[in-house]
Amino acid sequence: MNQLWTIYSFHVKELVRKKGFLYSSLVIVALILIVSYFSYQSSSNTKNDKVYVSMQMKDAQLSEKEMDKAFKKSGYDIVFTNKSAKSLKQAVKEKEMLSAFVLRGKLDDPSISHYYRQSPTQDVSLYIEKALESQVVSSTLSEANVDPLLLQHVDNTYQVKNNQLSETDKSYGLVYPMIFLLYIFIIGFGQAIAMSVVSEKSTKVVEILLPKINAANSFYAKIGAALTTGLIQLAVTVISFIIVRQLGWIDSGKISFMGMDINYSDISPLILLTFLLSFLGGFILYGLLYASLGAKVSRVEDLGPVLTPIVFLLMGAFGLGIFTIISPESTVSEIASYIPFFSPTVLFARIILNVASPLEIVVSSLIFVITLIVLTVLCKKWFLQSISHYGSPQKRKWIFSKGKAKSI
């Protein structure tokens, strides 16, 4: 344990002291501050777009006050006017307003013109259509001397009451950023693990180290160091967000991640624990993969092509994780949750979305742990092999004679 700690703390210091780490941390802080500030400035300076309505229809009724209130949230100011269609068209062209509506004729034979530059203000258009339709129905029925009580029935609207039986909806917003975080962490810091392994091989430090240490300790210390470095940068990111929130540059109510809202109250200790285990498991698994492939090559230059399959695997894990959020009960998700390279994202999503059965969790976790052990053994073996064989592994030539294969 002492040895593991010594190697771990050495590598953490090495990574943190790198100029690249300092610069990237500063870039993160600067980006968050700059983007939040400009976003805040632009939102406070934003004026609602004006939509003009020229009401030249005598028997129809539209309320400027009600319409303005209804579209305030959509970012529109509704202004009623008596201006002519020609002058309104000109005003829209000259960007004095977003769009304009001109209502002419009678209620039973209306003429409604909508003027806009690029995209129509469709929601305002629908509002006007619906309001006029409703007035036409009311006036027709009242002209036909229909009982006022019957009219009330006609006005009734029907709404479906949604009753959700599982609490998955609230979790969608949580699963996505968590899977994204795992993906970003592994992509960002996994390569550092492989680089560290190869550089110890290429500089022959491995010959000094291995008589003193257990090779597995070396890998786990490197994975731990990469994870710590990532967590430090994550902490820097969180602190930057806290600062901009304190400055009032972002909304303090809730966090939104790619259109999905996250409420703090949704993050229960169980969700947090599941995430932590999946995150750690995923990082260790992919970290070991990076270390194993790092142990297979002798030079840093050879690392690139060797690591490409991991990137594909990782993209698969990310994609399947997202797919599981959309379709948690699909067969693909269920099968993927047993595959150790995908289970950190897929099983995690299925657990959070209350779809995974206890048996599935136990079996998947077991397969996952066995894979970790196998990878550790392989990694150790390849690392030790590298001491006796530098350079590319010996190529095997196969000779086929009399239908039998012989290896040389």
């Binding site: 002492n2 040895q3 010594t6 190697i7 050495f10 210091k13 090495e14 500089t203 022959k204 430090v205 491995v206 010959e207 000094i208 180290l209 291995l210 008589p211 003193k212 240490i213 030790l384 001491i387 006796s388 064989h389 010996q394």
Partner: protein, 293 residues
Amino acid sequence: MLELCNLSKTYGDYKAVNSINVTLPQGEVLGLLGRNGAGKSTTIKMILGLVPSDEGQVLWNGKALKRKELKIGYLPEERGLYDKTKVYDQLLFFGRLENMKKKDIQRQINYWLERFEIPHYKHKVLSDLSKGNKQKIQLITTLLHNPELIILDEPFSGLDPVNANLFSEIINELITDGKTIILSSHRMEQLEVFCKHIVMLKQGNTMLQGTLNDIKLSYGIQSVFVHCQEDIMEWLNTNHYKAVKKDNGFYVSISHDNEVHQLFNALKNENFTIREFVMKEPSLHDIFVERVK
């Protein structure tokens, strides 16, 4: 006492080390000689436990050598240091891996940096140092934890004559301190100075083994250096002696020890004024070239 008993290693069809047997008493120095690919590094790696042996075993004081029970200092042929790390940080790291206390490591670092006359490099990044100074840091890494068994693979590589002398001084101090040392080098004149025991390898096989004195004695006297006031070249040729003129004298080849006395008496009888008459033993270099070529 270090014992290598029937130590063998095969890579595929290639026998890297073939049943090597060595006994090295504690506090003595063994010279491991051989051309590139002779099996020296594989033997060293088997002692360190870096490469498992196919057959045989490594014993320390009669028991199987366990890394945790014996402090070993190893200086590899190629530098094994972190290039982007400060000298102090990596020495501290390697010391910690040997379970040393921080205070002891710091004391040792200061001592060795002073001893190697490079205390000003303590907080420098290794890549800023010259090849010779990197070699010094590598040797400090080897000796930091005061090891009992020291394995030095090409310790003089990349050193200028002044630093080579400094390294020689330090190796002498280690021998005086009673350290058991295995020295592998191509520089025979330096091995000859330090090593009491010699093992010469060729393609994994032991070609020659024993104490340096015994080996040299078994080879006998091979030449004599003669410096006379007169020019004896013509006389040597007339009497069918093979001789080479060098260093104001002649190196005369002889086939057996008795010939030395015959030559001396003949020169005296001819009334040559003999200023220098030195019997020359074969050097380790001569023996190496003869046995492994």
